[in-house]
Amino acid sequence: MAVEMTSLEELDAGSRAALVDLVGRMASCKHLLGQRFAQWCTGAPTLEGSVAAASMAQEELGHSRVFSGVARGIQENEAGEQTGTDESLAPEILRAPFGGWLDYVAAARVADTAVTILLEAAVDCSFAPLRQRVRKALDEEEFHGIYARSWADALLGEGGPVERDLRARLDSWRASVEAWLAPCEADLAALGTLGIRPAKAREELRRRLAG
């Protein structure tokens, strides 16, 4: 691991800018995921599914607050400016309300997986405020990933119009999230000195969605 850092003064300007952008994008995505999950958690077809969906909503909102805090800390030290959650930093498709339960499943399967890939790239980063939060978030994301995959597989296995509808939504979500990942990949590439792995995030997302 690179030398441990706890304050942004230890980072060069380029690394600071990339870190703020990456963390801001993850926080924004999680904020909207949490809101949408909360709006649709009662839409799950089973009681256990609804309770787990509500739990996921709570966890995503918690992650968003935590990562926003990291970004705000950086921004406040930079220029004394507050940064709130900027929805323009989230995938475009996530800025619109869900149309139904199938959008919940598609969002969890695609967008949540994408953020998990970014978190994994930062799991050993030398910027301590980020690393500490990433590890806890990944523990909870393990359950999110199982949930999303199980529901997606079950619904695709229904066949007929349900399968067709979900496949179309998964394709739409993948296209939008891949576009969102492009600047995130650039941020990861610029943060190698912090021990953040340069991930081919879009390629990895496609691999996980196909597997």
Binding site: P45, T46, G49, S150, E158
Partner: protein, 71 residues
């Protein structure tokens, strides 16, 4: 879920709060498989800060003494 006719398997949930306690039965979840049963147990039974939690598929439980008639 639309079209599903067979009921989902039942999983019994066991947990404990401290090492000094025995692991005890705390509830049941219904899920398509063990992976999802883990997810559901984790989110449904979060009222305590459990130090350990297990799930066991009900059909994997081996009866030692069957329920006696009249008991």
């Amino acid at each position: 879920m639309s079209g599903r006719s067979a009921p989902l398997p039942l999983f019994e949930v066991f947990a404990r709060r401290q090492r000094e306690e025995p692991v005890r039965h705390i509830g049941t979840v219904q899920a398509p498989d063990a992976s999802m049963a883990r997810v559901y147990a984790h989110s449904l039974y979060d009222e305590e800060d459990w130090i350990e939690m297990w799930i066991v598929r009900r059909t994997d439980i081996v009866t030692v003494t069957p329920l006696r008639k009249g008991a």
